[in-house]
Symmetry: C2
Subunit: 275 residues, 2 copies
């Protein structure tokens, strides 16, 4: 399928409108448009293959970069996206940065200090598995800082992302949208599989109890940090195959629009014969 | 094929003896033992698949790490190893670190300062594309520091690698061994392919003129920094398929010996039912 047509169909199901409030109940987490699982497999595979080639050209060109932010509740599929969408890319051209609980040293700085250090350098794709958005999500829901502190962060994030994109960086932000019911099934699946049980923390159940608080915090983050330069996509993520198709399509389309080029060779090499 | 048998056959062709001088003329760069290109393809593919699973277990276990150092002359195949051996690994579990010409800030520190910052954290595989060894290779060959300075570095490297391996890190070092003739062909191939010509620098031809100096510098590095805790392998690399088979076998065998385990689950989860 033509990537532009595919992209248009995916945008209809996932795009948000900067400046407009994001209401998550407008998206069905099980949404898949008129795609079927069978259509999706070859399309996603083609996207993943194209991403490898595009990432290599971005790397060779070495003037621009791409930052991909993955956010979502526990089990929403952040790790799954990394495995299924990003794993085909030459690791020389891309890096995954997981943001966990900040260290003491990191807490001794402003909340963007550790983030800024990890943005992708020229030529590279950076994938943030969680991000600075945690500082207006988990931090807000659990009152880890006073309200005026987290309130000020939305603007700070917008200015920060503007700085990045004023340089030569593109920023794509994905909110992986799952239902409470799907999360319960995925948590149970972790418990039932001895090779996945280690991933389960009893504290996951506490976050589950805060579902509505998280949802409000996400809606605020998606509304207040939804700019033309760094827009959010809401990715219906109950169906893993649709999630992978949507994200691979959006990243591929973005890179195709950037259209990175192999840099020119040094002059005078065209007819050079060494042998 | 049983990985232990395969590993024994590869070790015979690539292992060095810590404490003994490494003489590179003892290895034919076109060596492939009694492997054929046809044997090698499925064996390498099986290794690459196993590496993905092993890397994931190392990541889950989250107590140990693996550092892979890739060194070799221009065109020796460092990038090729990353693409063909490492690219199957979930990028969440592994990171490539390229070491280029040091920055001014890096030069204001000792030569291991920038290296130490980039070693893989617990649970991760780090792949160094070039490394601290450049400080006894390009730096020595081009007299970028006085001889007493680079002379002191061999010991410093051994102590540094001891520190790493006294912790929970395994270190594997690969010297990709190509012939001068093969390098000439690969450089010509870069010139002939418009999508590869950008990789060619005229200065590559200067390094080529220093071939014998580099070879002596490599022999010294391989001899003086060849310890039980961080041994070198000499990988005959004129045949890319043998290079990939050898390196994938050694990494896989190392990880199988480490035998990383999924961590135990929190107590009391075995029969927990959420639904």
């Amino acid at each position: 399928m033509n990537i532009n047509n595919l992209h248009k169909r995916i945008e209809k199901l996932t795009a948000t409108e900067p400046g407009q409030p994001v209401r998550l109940d407008r998206w069905d987490p099980a949404e898949a448009g008129d795609f079927t699982k069978q259509d999706a497999a070859p399309l996603s595979a083609e996207n993943v293959q194209a991403l490898d080639e595009l990432a290599y050209r971005l790397y060779a060109e070495n003037t621009r970069s791409l930052l991909i932010v993955l956010q979502g509740m526990d089990t929403a599929g952040k790790d799954g996206v990394i495995r299924h969408v990003m794993a085909g890319i030459n690791p020389q051209c891309a890096a995954v940065v997981p943001f966990k609980r900040p260290s003491d040293e990191e807490l001794d700085h402003d909340f963007l200090w550790r983030i800024h250090q990890k943005v992708p350098p020229r030529g590279n794709i950076g994938i943030f598995n969680r991000s600075h958005y945690e500082d207006v999500l988990v931090v807000r829901v659990n009152n880890l800082v006073p309200q005026p502190v987290w309130e000020a962060r939305y603007d700070a994030i917008n200015h920060f992302e503007k700085l990045l994109t004023d340089g030569k960086m593109k920023v794509l932000k994905f909110y992986l949208h799952i239902s409470q019911k799907e999360q319960l099934e995925r948590l149970q699946a972790r418990l039932d599989d001895p090779t996945k049980r280690w991933k389960f923390c009893k504290s996951d159940l506490d976050s589950r109890k805060q579902w509505d608080d998280y949802r409000r915090a996400y809606e605020d983050a998606l509304t207040r940090c939804n700019t033309k330069h760094a827009p959010w996509h809401v990715i219906p993520a109950d169906r893993k195959w649709f999630r992978n198709l949507a994200i691979s399509t959006i990243i591929r389309h973005t890179l195709e629009e950037m259209d990175p080029q192999f840099p020119p060779a040094e002059p005078g090499l065209e007819n050079l014969k060494l042998i």
